[in-house]
């Protein structure tokens, strides 16, 4: 008998007294250690911190039995700070960096009873779409080990897909939670900009970055979001909008909800199997009572170039802090002057994708090009946002496939960054507009690679997204299908 590996079953195992927090924690760590040689999903296992935490839960059991995430093992993307546990952003630049503090999301999940068991791989500084850009090697997709898990939160998505942990955190600057969730067959939610504190998140592009949960079901994602959302005085961009109990929104009733489909955006470049799964998913929503409408999203076709102009500009500025002085890597050997030390440190510490983006961002911000590129992109960003705002006067959610293709082969797009960027066509708009969006498993290609359905809603309408995704899960079993790896691991566990 294989136990379901969700958040609630882990919690129930502890709260019912069937097992201890320490046993649950040891079990998760053992799974990770068994699977990591094949998947490379984790940069580090936080065994010492996790076991100490689990022991504390067992010791003060009465205090924790009602906690929403009691004893639930959680993996944290390695660009979110964990006190005393190495946080590398999968970069040589931060290979030995041990933060002296926890990110707010980490502290809040722990306050809700969670146990942080490890740090998951990502593309370096969360730049990429395939998790091939980690300085510590590519992550492999649990469904097909010769394929990418997506990126940049590829380690978190692979870890949840392989049922190594019930849930994980990712960060999403242009689709980095949703696209790997789609490619690995799990649920990924990017909340509204400002919904979740970014204090302790290693900054990539500050007007776009947002932290979000990855889980096997919308219900589990709802529990995580409820625990970590809300204002934080350490992040001035966090919102004081009230945090509802997102799990309470999962009624299964989606009658009358209007789901818009931007047909014009879907005419070209979408894999035939992805289109087939997407169309079938729309039928499932319609059968449950949602109304399907065509919507127009003017200027959304420019979202990818706008995103790469805006995000690289912000990244070039954010990453200026890596100078070999206060923390992180410094070029070895005798360096006579400060400028040379900076330039060598950054050349040796950053990988190729990070350097490429710093170069592009430096260019679009430089005198003479600022108006033509950066300012122009910001204006088109306004137009894209207006298009979505207009659409949301007519519909409650917009549906597209999360990714135009399923997981591609490792190495297939590495030499052609532009091709890699074009794969982000359906995800970047949610970041440019600040809107919440979710990816939920909606089928498989003929090669048995997962396909994701993406739903986007209005600002702070996460409850609508989660309700739609949960309703969809009640009528399909895609989210309950696990890759072959997970099966063998789960068997070993029981």
């Amino acid at each position: 008998m294989i136990e379901p590996a969700g958040v609630r079953s882990a919690r129930d195992a502890f709260t019912s007294g069937r097992t201890s927090a320490v046993e649950i924690c040891r079990d998760a760590i053992a799974s990770i250690e068994r699977a990591n040689a094949a998947l490379n999903a984790f940069n580090a296992v936080a065994a010492e911190r996790a076991l100490a935490r689990a022991a504390a839960l067992d010791r003060d059991r009465a205090q924790w039995v009602n906690a929403p995430l009691a004893a639930v093992p959680i993996a944290i993307k390695d660009n979110i700070c964990t006190a005393g546990v190495r946080t590398t952003a999968s970069s040589r630049m931060l290979q030995h960096y041990v933060p002296p503090y926890d990110g707010t999301v980490v502290a809040r999940l722990e306050a809700a009873g969670a146990v942080v068991v490890g740090k998951t791989s990502c593309d370096e500084f969360a730049m990429g779409s395939s998790n091939e850009r980690s300085a510590f090697g590519p992550v492999r997709n649990p469904w097909a080990h010769d394929r990418v898990p997506g990126g940049t939160s590829g380690g978190s998505a692979a870890a949840v897909a392989a049922r190594l942990v019930p849930a994980a955190l990712g960060s999403d600057t242009g689709g980095s939670v949703r696209q790997p969730a789609a490619l690995c067959g799990v649920v990924g939610l990017k909340p509204t900009y400002g919904r979740v504190s970014r204090y302790g998140l290693i900054a990539h592009a500050s007007s776009l970055d947002q932290i979000g949960p990855i889980a096997t079901t919308a219900a589990d994602a709802a529990v995580l979001l409820t625990a970590m959302a809300g204002f934080d005085e350490c992040d001035a961009t966090s919102s004081d909008e009230a945090v509802p109990d997102y799990a309470a929104a999962l009624t299964g009733d989606i009658r009358g909800l209007r789901v818009g489909v931007p047909r014009a955006l879907l005419e070209r470049g979408v894999d035939a199997d992805v289109t087939r799964a997407f169309s079938a998913a729309l039928e499932v929503l319609a059968a449950r009572g949602a109304a399907l409408l065509d919507v127009d999203l003017p200027h959304a076709e420019h979202a990818v170039p706008v995103y790469y102009l805006v995000s690289t500009a912000e990244a070039s500025s954010n990453l200026a802090r890596y100078d070999g002085v206060r923390y992180g890597y410094r070029a070895a050997g005798a360096v006579r002057d400060l400028r040379t030390m900076y330039a060598r440190t950054r050349a040796e510490g950053f990988g190729p994708e990070v350097k490429r983006r710093i170069m592009l961002g430096t260019y679009v911000l430089s005198a003479g090009y600022y108006d033509a590129y950066y300012l122009k992109a910001q204006q088109v960003r306004t137009l894209i946002t207006r298009g979505y705002d207009a659409a949301f006067t007519r519909v409650d959610a917009v549906a597209v496939p999360t990714s135009p293709t399923p997981a591609f082969r490792i190495g297939e797009r590495v030499e052609d960054p532009l091709q890699m960027y074009l794969g982000d066509v359906f995800t970047v708009s949610a970041n440019l507009t600040g809107l919440p969006a979710i990816s939920v498993p909606c089928g498989f290609t003929r090669e048995r690679l997962p396909v994701g359905l993406q739903l986007t809603a209005g600002r702070f309408a996460e409850a609508t997204l989660l309700r739609l995704a949960d309703a969809f899960e009640r009528d399909t079993d895609w989210c309950r299908q696990a890759p072959p790896d997970a099966r063998s691991l789960a068997t070993a566990r029981s």
């Binding site: 041990v98 002296p100 503090y101 900009y193 400002g194 500050s206 007007s207 001035a236 961009t237 919102s239 004081d240 909008e241 200027h299 420019h302 170039p305 790469y308 102009l309 070039s316 200026a320 002085v325 206060r326 923390y327 992180g328 890597y329 410094r330 006579r336 002057d337 400060l338 040379t340 030390m341 900076y342 330039a343 950054r346 050349a347 950053f350 190729p352 350097k355 490429r356 710093i358 170069m359 592009l360 430096t362 260019y363 430089s366 033509a372 590129y373 300012l375 122009k376 992109a377 910001q378 204006q379 088109v380 960003r381 306004t382 137009l383 960054p417 532009l418 960027y421 440019l432 600040g434």
Partner: protein, 98 residues
Amino acid sequence: MAAFSVEDAAALARLANLALTEEELALFARQLSDILAYAEQVQRVDTAGVPPTAALAPRAGAERADELRPCLERSTVLEQAPDAAIDAGFFRVPRVIG
């Protein structure tokens, strides 16, 4: 259309404080040209009178009292540095002047 020469790339790398190799400069010159050629479509959008979106912060301009709060110990911070005189309370860098 922006077409980058290796010299253009070298000038950018200096601005970005990146000591790149000749191979990297040649590669990035070609790739940045390709990416910006693709991004040309943005130039064709009519944006007359459209304000730029630079930030989405819902509480823009929020203020708080400017008062002392607990923060990290100086030694804790300095321990992260690749080179520091922790007891003296300084980061150590290569000579800046003279």
